[in-house]
């Protein structure tokens, strides 16, 4: 690397826009989890569906459109925990990135 390239490298600015998008990709992937042989994505959509289930058990379609018999409260708890854990981690990383120049 020549001197000019080294200087330009040292003066590189933090890419806030790309970092935000990467965090979104990273944490959306981390919302995925396995339960009862099905694959699920934790988040408001799943939690709303579960909140609308009146009984203790239900049959839902997983990410791959496979019907899976689930315990509503168990899946709700797993989804809630996963969603909040990952959202908290997302916030922490977002705040660290916000301070970079």
């Amino acid at each position: 690397m020549d001197t000019e390239k080294l200087i330009s490298h040292a003066r590189a600015r933090f890419d806030h826009a790309a970092a935000r998008r990467i965090l979104k990709e990273k944490y959306e992937a981390r919302m995925l989890f396995a339960y009862c042989g099905g694959m699920w994505r934790a988040g408001p959509d799943l939690l709303n569906v579960l909140a609308a289930c009146p009984d203790e058990s239900a049959v839902l379609l997983d990410l791959y459109d496979t019907p899976v018999k689930i315990d509503v409260r168990e899946l709700e708890l797993a989804a809630q925990q996963r969603w909040q854990e990952q959202m908290n981690a997302w916030l922490v990383e977002h705040e660290i990135n916000s301070q970079k120049r």
Partner: protein, 270 residues
């Protein structure tokens, strides 16, 4: 049922894929907790300490390819990937490119799924965070691309059909290349996999894909590891105004398409 990772490592003129695979094997064991087998033509006795299983095979060249980071055309020993099904010692196998950097336990999700075969069907450029047509389609018809960088399969009829089909495509590459109007003559696993999945799924192009996109670092970007003990990788790329921009990637797997930069990181860590 046994579960493990499978890596292919055939050195060429410029890249030490065996060293890359050994570095990758350590990361796979650490993050995913599964054993790693390597398919290689190297007879180095140290391999038995670096990998859980060593399977010897001769390299199968897919032709030559120009690599921007090396600024040269090198031999590409990639065509043996279609033999993964026959050669794997595991019941459930995670085939990874040696240049796929495992930096999280995210692939556990794929291992936990009950599907017989999974791979990525979408890749994006990590620095620009955009889905590129040239990464996600192939041939003049712009058919949807599937990526052979990460493949999970179980010993099953479905996986056997896919790999048999890939072998047929490799054996008749010129025919399939003409049929799908692929300009470059070099055989590519991603194309063979995409065509095979199309055939096996009856031309519907619907596959059980990994439900997140393959993060890719293009060869023209500078890739560095902050330190040997730090899991953060720094990517520097050129902005539209000519200045340099950088970003850090931590706890996230990615495909390092620039072999030279990854090779430099591994060299520094040895």
């Amino acid at each position: 049922m046994t579960t493990g990772a499978l890596l292919f490592a055939f050195n060429n003129e410029v890249t030490d894929y065996v060293q890359m695979a050994a570095w990758s094997a350590r990361r796979i064991r650490h993050h995913l907790g599964i054993p790693v087998a390597v398919i290689t033509n190297s007879r180095n006795p140290v391999l038995s300490q670096q990998f859980d299983q060593v399977i010897h095979a001769e390299p199968d060249s897919g032709g030559t390819r120009f690599f921007e980071d090396y600024d040269s055309t090198v031999t590409w020993h990639n065509a043996g990937r279609v033999d993964a099904y026959a050669l794997t010692p595991w019941d459930q196998t995670l085939v990874l490119d040696a240049d796929y950097v495992v930096a999280s336990s995210q692939l556990r999700f794929v291992l936990d799924s009950s599907r017989d075969f999974m791979c990525h069907d979408r890749a994006y450029d990590i620095a620009k965070s955009r889905y590129l047509d040239e990464l996600n389609t192939f041939g003049e018809h712009r058919l949807p691309m599937s990526w052979a960088t990460v493949m999970m399969f179980r010993k099953s009829n479905t996986a056997a059909y896919i790999f048999d089909c890939m072998q047929m495509i490799r054996a008749n590459w010129d025919h399939y290349r003409a049929l799908y109007k692929i300009q470059k003559s070099t055989y590519r696993n991603d194309f063979a996999l995409s065509i095979a999945l199309g055939i096996v799924n009856g031309g519907t192009w619907r596959i059980d894909s990994v439900p997140w996109s393959l993060a890719s670092i293009l060869p023209e970007y500078q890739l560095e590891q902050i330190s040997n003990t730090d899991e953060t990788f720094k990517i520097t790329h050129r902005a539209a105004n000519g200045g340099n921009l950088y970003l850090g990637v931590n706890g996230m797997d990615f495909h390092a398409m620039g072999k030279k930069h990854l090779g430099d990181i591994i060299e520094a860590s040895v």
